[in-house]
Amino acid sequence: MTELFLHQQWLIWLTLLPLGAAVAAFLAPQQARWIGLATALLLPVCALAGILSVTLTHADPITAGGWPTPLGIELRRDGLALVMLAVTALVGFIISCYALGYFPVHDRHYDKVRYFWPLWLFLWGSCNALFVSGDLFNLYVTLELVTLSSVALIALEGGKQALAAALRYLFIGLLGSLSYLLGVGLLYGSYATVDIALLGEMISATRLNHAAMALMVAGLVLKSALFPLHFWLPQAHTMAPAPVSAALSALVVKAAYVILLRLWFEVFPALDTFAVGHLLGLLGSIAIVWGSLMALRQERLKLLIAYSTVAQIGYLYLVFPLAQPETMAAAWTGGVLLMMTHACGKSAMFMVAGTIHHTAGSDRLSRLAGAGGPVGVLAVVFTLAATTIIGLPPSGGFFAKWIFINAALVTGQWWYLPIILSGTLLAAAYIARVLGWAFLDVKRSSYPVIPWVMKWPPLVLSVIALLFGLIAYEPIQIALIGAPVHGSIMVEMTP
């Protein structure tokens, strides 16, 4: 029985189920909500089962369609894929619940409701596909699918600004993915394979490969909105409906980053990436400060959160310079940890913003005043979620920063210390602004009623974000399965 259970091809289901559900939801718009909810309930189960089946039985990679590599499509089942699937499942589930309240049945613009569910399930499915796909070209295709669905979701609001943001995002996405694809092509030209593992073994430091790397990195940097190429992100994330913004910040941006992480640690090590790593680190540092300062400047909650995403992406890019030989494992783990915790925290924050927008009609900070009242749960959710953005313990952000600082100290790259620390301070500053408004006590004539699905699911997410540091042990252990890096996380300095 357990055998049967464990040898199911859960990871394939993780992709097929949402895609099928998307089609179904599109065909039967009346039942879209329930189809979506059912899928959202099933997918976490599949993800859990998948994790169990991998951790308990160390089976070979499944190849879909039965073709062997390099021709067939190999499903990666390593730790990174698993944890990303899990996080996606969790966040996706919460987002779906939230969306039930955010898109009520009898909405003025009915098509919003009608198109949200198919697109969202499509996005979800393609994210899962991206995380499990193990060769460069599949990564390209899945990345495109993700972009495509995101574009449509951004355009969901239908306003002029929304459309513009969507188009802009579409162009950027295409630009990025095409340059990535060009890089893929060059690599394929040299080695006649696009399988990451095989490439990692074969690749050598040549000009052409370096050019390929440059193209791919540039494309992925553009797609993951690293400074100075973050310009599209604030608009896109702000114009989209709250659940979509949550998904974009939590998952879509991470998708491109995950690809980069895979390439960097599995394909590029053979190349001379020292300078590139430091360039990325530099841009990341600028992004941290820049994004935080911008966030400090914003008057609208969603924009503030979006810019804080820009800053957080900066942290993610510190992984590359910090991944020196002795701190390889540390940097990698820190990056993964930060991705996971940021996904939870940031989506919770976007949901709060959405609720404010939903109830108060606008997400200006001033509308937060008196949120401490009967809608106080918003303030609570925001506070708890903010801890991981600021990097206060016991959130995962705290430990991620811990790992980064430790790595910087050990590798003697002390200049990243002030960046990380000031970034934390600035984050505290802009969070404090929001809290200041939230706790300002104004007597309202009437308090809005918030459907419970818009209250408690985000609370769950924010609590997870807060306590992630305490429960991170198992996720990290899973993430390290078949990880390209080995060694201790807490490297100790040697005098």
Binding site: V377, T383, L392, L425, A472, E492, M493
Partner: protein
């Protein structure tokens, strides 16, 4: 697995807090029941643990966080000292807060964060290594902010901003110093001898820097001058919060952390050998004097009390910095004594504000006639602060004095004398007003049955703490007193 008592103690206040968040505002009874049940249950568990630790069976629990980081909960004599204090005062403060906030808005939020705050304090008391300590220390920061700004007035928000600014910066420095120390010295378990003693002497330089950073960051919460600014402004918070802030939660967390770092991370011998402690002693002495001088010129009662806290908490640090058994005893015992005295004073200040709307010192003329019991408690607290026998404050002062002589630093006695004079100078006039000056206006006479001066919920806590202040002083020599317990700790520290 009896070590599960440690997480149980943590959860006993964490769970009620989380549940209370979800309660609607009207569910007063359920909320009150949850609060009191949690507090009592915690007190019970702590009592159990107390007995165990008294028999020298130390509980410990390790929970892996990251591959190389653990969450270590351990109960030793020192943590029990702090734990018992916080558990006891939490119960009293909860009762008090229930009475104090009766009918005010946002009580669910308040009590939720209140419980979180206490769980964080408990965690600080129980943390068995520096990493765990930092975790709970920061949790305390974030969970206290909503309490400080609870009133939601612009003034409160400004105070909250200052509070956050100071504590976050402090926490950041603490975090950085801890990471640095961890990367140098490896695991940072609290152990009597300290963990850095047998490091490569080449590292002593950076160790000294780290020590300074740690002292500074912890000094923010311990309100060492010039890092004390947030404390007087944070007194806009409701009285129960100020009481908790000043007596156990925030300020004591800083002091406790300094004790931990000096005793169990660096070790007394090492820090004395590297003479890291003398600057600390100087800073503490300066803080004692400065705080008292500032308190002199405060007309707002709570502000005066706040500055008095600034001054009094540094007694603890002074005792720690002496690095002699007697000094340590004096410092540690003041951790408890100051907490009790100060919480009494704040309770009374709260009663005045809540019952008669008195906030300023010069409005207190003859209030002893209207609220004799509250004011009696206040007087006990004030005289204790001055350090008059037989009250608890005297015991601390006496041991600090002896310790300073043993440490060969008689100048500390001068500090104590000056502080005593200053304390007298800003407390005795208040006491005089209370009892000996004719009331200027006549207050609304009590509407309560039997003409009680205020509700039991507001009256009982200060009376109990005042009683404790007296008993801890009079019975200092007897088994189970704070002094007795502290002597056990000191014996462990110095292997006497």
């Amino acid at each position: 697995m009896s070590d599960l008592i440690l997480p149980a103690i943590l959860l006993s206040s964490l769970l009620p807090g989380l549940i209370i968040f979800t309660l609607p505002e009207q569910q007063v009874t359920l909320r009150t029941a949850l609060n009191l049940a949690g507090a009592l249950f915690k007190l019970m568990l702590v009592a159990l643990l107390f007995v165990r630790v008294a028999e020298r069976q130390y509980a410990e629990l390790r929970l892996p966080l990251l591959p190389d980081i653990e969450l270590v909960l351990r109960a030793d004599a020192l943590s029990l000292l702090f734990l018992t204090l916080s558990a006891l005062l939490w119960l009293l403060t909860t009762i008090y807060a229930i009475g104090y906030l009766e009918g005010s808005p946002n009580r669910s939020r308040f009590f939720g964060f209140f419980s979180l705050c206490v769980s964080a304090t408990t965690g600080i008391a129980l943390s068995g290594d520096l990493v765990t300590f930092v975790i709970f220390y920061e949790m305390l920061t974030i969970s206290t902010y909503p309490l400080v700004v609870h009133r939601g007035t612009p003034k409160a928000l400004a105070a909250g901003r200052i509070y956050l600014a100071y504590t976050i910066c402090g926490g950041l420095v603490l975090f950085f110093a801890t990471v640095w120390l961890r990367s140098i010295a490896g695991p940072l378990d609290f152990s009597p001898g300290g963990v850095v003693a047998d490091l490569d002497p080449a590292l002593y330089g950076s160790l000294a820097i780290i020590f300074a950073l740690l002292m500074l960051s912890l000094g923010v919460k311990a309100a060492l001058v010039p890092l004390h600014i947030w404390l007087p402004s944070a007194m806009v918070a409701p009285a129960p919060v100020s009481a908790l802030l000043h007596a156990v939660a925030v300020v004591k967390a800083g002091a406790f952390g300094i004790i931990r770092v000096v005793h169990d991370i660096y070790g007394l011998d090492f820090s004395a050998a590297q003479n890291l402690l003398f600057p600390l002693a100087l800073l503490a002495a300066f803080t004692i004097i400065y705080g008292s001088i500032r308190a002199l010129s405060q007309n707002d009662l709570k502000r005066r009390l706040a500055f008095s806290t600034v001054s009094q908490v540094s007694y603890i640090l002074l005792g720690v910095a002496m690095a002699t058994p007697l000094g340590t005893i004096g410092g540690l015992v003041h951790l408890v004594h100051q907490g009790l005295m100060k919480i009494t004073l704040f309770f009374c200040a709260g009663n005045l504000a809540e019952t008669l709307g008195i906030h300023k010192v010069d409005e207190m003329d003859g209030v002893g006639r209207r609220m004799p019991w509250t004011m009696a408690a206040f007087t006990v607290g004030a005289l204790g602060m001055i350090g008059l026998p037989p009250l608890a404050g005297f015991i601390s002062k006496w041991y600090l004095g002896l310790g300073s002589l043993a440490a060969g630093q008689p100048w500390i006695i001068l500090v104590l004398i000056a502080s005593t004079l200053l304390n007298a100078a800003y407390f005795l006039p208040v006491v005089h007003r209370i009892w000996f000056i004719e009331p200027r206006q006549d207050w609304p006479s009590s509407s309560l049955r039997g003409g009680r001066e205020t509700t039991w919920a507001l009256l009982a806590p200060p009376l109990m703490t005042a009683l404790l202040v007296i008993l801890l002083g009079i019975l200092a020599g007897s088994v189970g007193s704070a002094l007795y317990w502290v002597e056990l700790i000191a014996a462990r520290e110095y292997g006497l």
